[in-house]
């Protein structure tokens, strides 16, 4: 027990806030404040879109943890999002269980699949693009299963009528049936997950993931069981993606095979790349901006949006390869240079 305590103390020790981190926290707090007041200005339709975007931001956080922190690219991350969503749908609509059981089932399915597949892949030394392609293949297989196994998954149509989350806490009844409750619930979960992941990754644990991801041989020869670290990160990211999927299914009331597919996997990659890998807050903001832009532009031209998204992605790759979050470093550096040259 004391060894576990020592390990946690060593892993999650909190260093002092650095200058760039303070700026990041400020950006996160301003974003949170804007999101808190948004319901006073936004329509119900726009609020529902933002709620979905917040739940998709959870998916982006989970991918950023894996890709940005552990440097492990996955091309089929929607697999776990979809499993969470189908777990919720099957538990509530097929098995007659509660939404709480649906969340647990979704997370259990996704983390079990990630643990089993990850064990065989990571402990066999499968890394980099080989690992990424394997996850894409798993996602395609899951998509096909969801289409074909219609007695359980509802086939192409999916499962409709998934109930909202309802519970009573401290005598207060909470239900996501209302737009406002649903929105603030999504905002609370996204904020909590972001805060916990940021606190966990900003100290030694984040550095270990970086060491394992960037120089595995060196890390292994220093006593790190690198395959185990990557497996735990993969399973945790899968669980987090499944949580996002389960909440998304309950919020939207429907699941379909698309949720497991390549398009969602690609979109989340783009959000993380645009936001800035490894920054956590960057992908959240990018998800919110890109999904809202997608809705606005698609409302007058559905064919225009994919072109704009592709152009935006290329622009970021060429102009800001470390994503929007790198502006937190570049803007102060630019201002300091200008002040230096002016004086």
């Amino acid at each position: 027990m004391s060894r576990l305590f020592t390990a946690c103390r060593l892993l999650f020790a909190q260093p002092r806030l650095g200058g760039r981190e303070k700026l990041g926290v400020l950006v996160a707090l301003v974003t949170l404040a804007l999101l808190i007041v948004t319901p006073f200005a936004a329509s119900e339709y726009r609020l529902a879109q933002l709620r979905d975007a917040l739940l998709l931001a959870l998916l982006a956080i989970s991918l950023d943890y894996l890709w940005g922190r552990a440097h492990t690219l996955v091309l089929g991350h929607a697999l776990f999002f979809g499993l969470g969503a189908y777990g919720m749908a099957i538990a509530t609509m097929k098995l007659g269980l509660s939404t709480g059981a649906g969340i647990v089932l979704g997370i259990a399915l996704a983390s079990a699949l990630a643990t089993i597949s990850g064990y065989f892949l990571l402990f066999a030394g499968v890394r980099l693009h080989f690992f990424a392609v394997m996850t894409m293949a798993m996602s395609l297989i899951a998509n096909q299963v969801a289409v074909s196994w219609s007695s359980v998954t509802g086939g192409d149509v999916g499962i409709l009528g998934i109930p909202p989350i309802e519970f009573t806490l401290l005598g207060l009844r909470y239900s996501t049936a209302g737009d406002l409750e649903s929105y603030y619930g999504a905002l609370a979960v996204a904020t909590m997950v972001l805060a916990v992941m940021w606190a966990a990754c900003r100290g030694p644990y984040g550095k270990i993931l970086e060491a394992v991801g960037t120089n595995e041989n060196r890390a292994r020869s220093l006593g790190f069981n690198t395959s185990l670290h990557l497996l735990l990160a993969f399973a945790l990211a899968a669980a987090l993606a499944a949580l996002a999927g389960a909440l998304f299914a309950s919020a939207s009331g429907v699941v379909a095979p698309d949720l497991l597919g390549v398009i969602v996997s690609t979109e989340v990659l783009i959000w993380v790349a645009i936001g800035g890998r490894g920054s956590l807050i960057g992908p959240v903001i990018a998800t919110l901006i890109v999904t809202q832009a997608s809705h606005s532009i698609s409302s007058f031209s559905t064919s225009l949006w994919p072109l704009i998204l592709g152009a935006l992605f290329l622009l970021v790759v060429f102009a800001l390869p470390d994503g929007l979050a790198s502006l937190l470093r570049k803007v102060p550096e630019f201002l300091a240079r200008r002040r230096g040259s002016a004086s």
Partner: protein, 240 residues
């Protein structure tokens, strides 16, 4: 071999890459706190020997024992947790971490497994003389600084057997002399095996020297003794 307790033993180790025997029936042992240099011409099998000793490469044949216990087949992280820690050939550090962060992380691998906190970073920074570069990124350090940093990272793991693969490669004469001083100081606290090409460095260490040639161990003794050995001279200079 001194009368001190045996720390590490390698017996009949062989490793082949296709048709080439990189090491072939190598046997020797290292005692507690002993300093051993492994020398030999290019392609003699020195780095493969170090890879086998650190668990990076499993041998095709032979046995490995640490404090009398077989460690054959264990993964590299298990070797490190037992105290067998290596420095790679060329500077192998974490490029996107500062010197201080690299040392902090380096200490955690063994500390998490043992529950024993790692050494103080500032002490190791002073040992490797990089205190003034503590906030410099690994990728921004000079080659010599990265060599020192990697040695520092190994020290953060509290090694019992430190394996150094060419620790002075690319270093200045002053840096080489300082590294010799450090290695001699460390040898009082832990066993050290050094693979080196720089004969002036090996002479300065004046320790037991093992000579390899074409995957085999051809001489084992003091530096003065092995340097007079005709087989060693033949290996380095070729037969007239």
């Amino acid at each position: 071999m001194s009368a001190r307790a045996r720390l590490f033993e390698i017996d009949g180790a062989a490793k082949r890459f296709g048709g080439i025997a990189a090491i072939d029936g190598v046997s020797f042992s290292v005692a507690e706190n002993e300093l051993v240099c492994v020398i030999g011409p290019n392609g003699a099998g020195k780095s493969t020997l170090l890879n086998v000793m650190s668990g990076t490469l499993p041998p095709d044949a032979g046995t490995l024992r640490f404090r009398g216990e077989s460690i054959l087949g264990q993964p590299p992280h298990a070797f490190a947790r037992r105290g067998i820690v290596r420095k790679f050939q060329g500077a192998n550090v974490f490029p996107w971490m500062t010197v201080r962060e690299s040392l902090e992380v380096a200490g955690l691998g063994v500390a998490l497994a043992s529950g024993r906190p790692p050494p103080a970073v500032d002490t190791v920074l002073a040992t490797i003389k990089l205190g003034h570069q503590a906030n410099r990124m690994g990728s921004m350090c000079s080659h010599g600084q990265r060599q020192w940093l990697e040695v520092g990272m190994t020290l953060m793991s509290r090694p019992r057997l430190l394996l150094l693969d060419e620790p002075t490669a690319g270093m200045t004469a002053i840096g080489t002399a300082e590294m010799a001083e450090l290695v001699l100081a460390l040898a009082g606290e832990m066993a050290v095996v050094v693979i080196e090409h720089d004969m002036s460095f090996v002479r300065r260490l004046a320790c037991r020297t093992v000579v390899m040639h074409q995957g085999r161990l051809i001489a084992d003794g003091s530096f003065e003794t092995v340097s007079q050995d005709p087989r060693v001279r033949d290996a380095y200079l070729g037969r007239a």
